[in-house]
């Protein structure tokens, strides 16, 4: 059952991307694509999924959708406005620094989601990750604090809350 769910999850991810990529909903596209997605799911399932999935994992998917909506509207807009202000002002108030930011999620997916979220918002870029000691080195354009725990509060605490719920 768990194995079947894993295949199904990879299949659905592949198939939904396929429909969007092909940009067509003719029966020809849908039927042939489902065969193709099945082949792909069988080929890559072991690469993508390492634990047994449960039905209740659907809750994680809901958090992912919620996070996507939050991130693309609130977080992105806020970061863009902040940087736009700095770029357009006559005296740029920047204090670029590389700070250490710890993370506590267990999975590599969770870690990647946080790192991607940090990098994708303007002003902060993950330049290095230490998976053994579990922290990022983040280049921060407007560094205000340098203490790892407080830098985490400022940069990645919200991202990590969601990431914890989505990937664990």
């Amino acid at each position: 059952m768990g194995r079947l769910l894993s295949y199904l999850a990879v299949f659905l991810m592949t198939y939904s991307f396929y429909v969007v990529f092909s940009g067509a909903t003719s029966l020809f596209t849908l039927v042939l694509g489902s065969v193709g997605s099945l082949v792909v799911a069988v080929l890559v399932k072991n690469l993508l999924v390492s634990r047994k999935l449960k039905i209740s994992d659907i809750r994680r998917l809901a958090y992912l959708v919620l996070y996507y909506a939050y991130y693309m509207t609130v977080a992105e807009v806020r970061a863009h406005v902040d940087i736009a202000k700095i770029v357009l002002s006559r005296k740029m108030k920047i204090s670029p620094a590389i700070v250490k930011v710890p993370y506590y999620v267990e999975t590599s997916y969770g870690m990647t989601l946080i790192a991607g979220s940090i990098t994708n918002t303007p002003g902060t870029v993950v330049v290095q990750v230490d998976t053994n000691r579990k922290h990022f080195y983040v280049h921060w354009l407007t560094a205000r604090v340098f203490e790892p725990a407080r830098a985490r509060e400022e940069i990645s605490a919200v991202f990590e809350n969601y990431s914890q719920k989505i990937f664990g």
Partner: protein, 270 residues
Amino acid sequence: MNAREVAIATSITLMIVLLAYVIEAGGLGPIAPEKLRELAASYIISTYNPWNITHSAQSLEAVTAIVWDYRGLDTFFETSVLFISIVGVALLFRGYREKTGVGGRGLSEIVKTSTKILAPLILIAGISIAIHGHLTPGGGFQGGSFIAVLLVLLSVVFSLDFVVERGLSTSRLLTLRSIGLMGVFATSIALLLVGLVTGVSAYVFQNMVREGAPVSMPPWFLDRPTGGTLLFFNVFEALAVATGLSLAFIVLSLRREEVEEALERGEWYE
């Protein structure tokens, strides 16, 4: 500003002015002729013509119809040439053995995880390009090249070890490549074989019904035209190209530990 910079600026300005002059003076000729030439008109009429399948390739994409139907034999030899060149590359490195445990740490965990998620998407995008080859721009070669990118990504982001450990050895890739080419070959003579068995005449590379040759590939699959043989050609070609290019990439990026043995044997031949 030194003389070098002046020269560069002058030549760029000259190029822009001259190009503008050539285009303005009509030196390149009209971009599109007002009347279709006869050959082009016949392609457009016969590429997709559901009312007269005898003169149709049942494909919405003229380029794919030309490549695999009107001049299918030519394309078959083209794809064979690619096959032979890849066999040649493998032959040059004969005697090597792929080893695991040679090392190579790859890139960071973030890149690795992102690449994992990308893997199925790259595969399915390539498949989509291949199976829609007769409906939209694209086709077997384009889809196959798209898929081959995955192996390049995996070997750079993870390491060649990772690729080999997952069973993508050159010998297996060569087998898959041969299956793809055999599929192309089988498609080209499929209707001829049907004709031989049922006792009617048929052509090599026959696609739809032709005058005096009543056998046909299925013109429709559900709600879209199949292009008959074109769909099969595109799928097999995608398999052949994806595995062929992957194989060439692996062979060209072999590590020192792996080719040493081959080099020794090469000296022995001399």
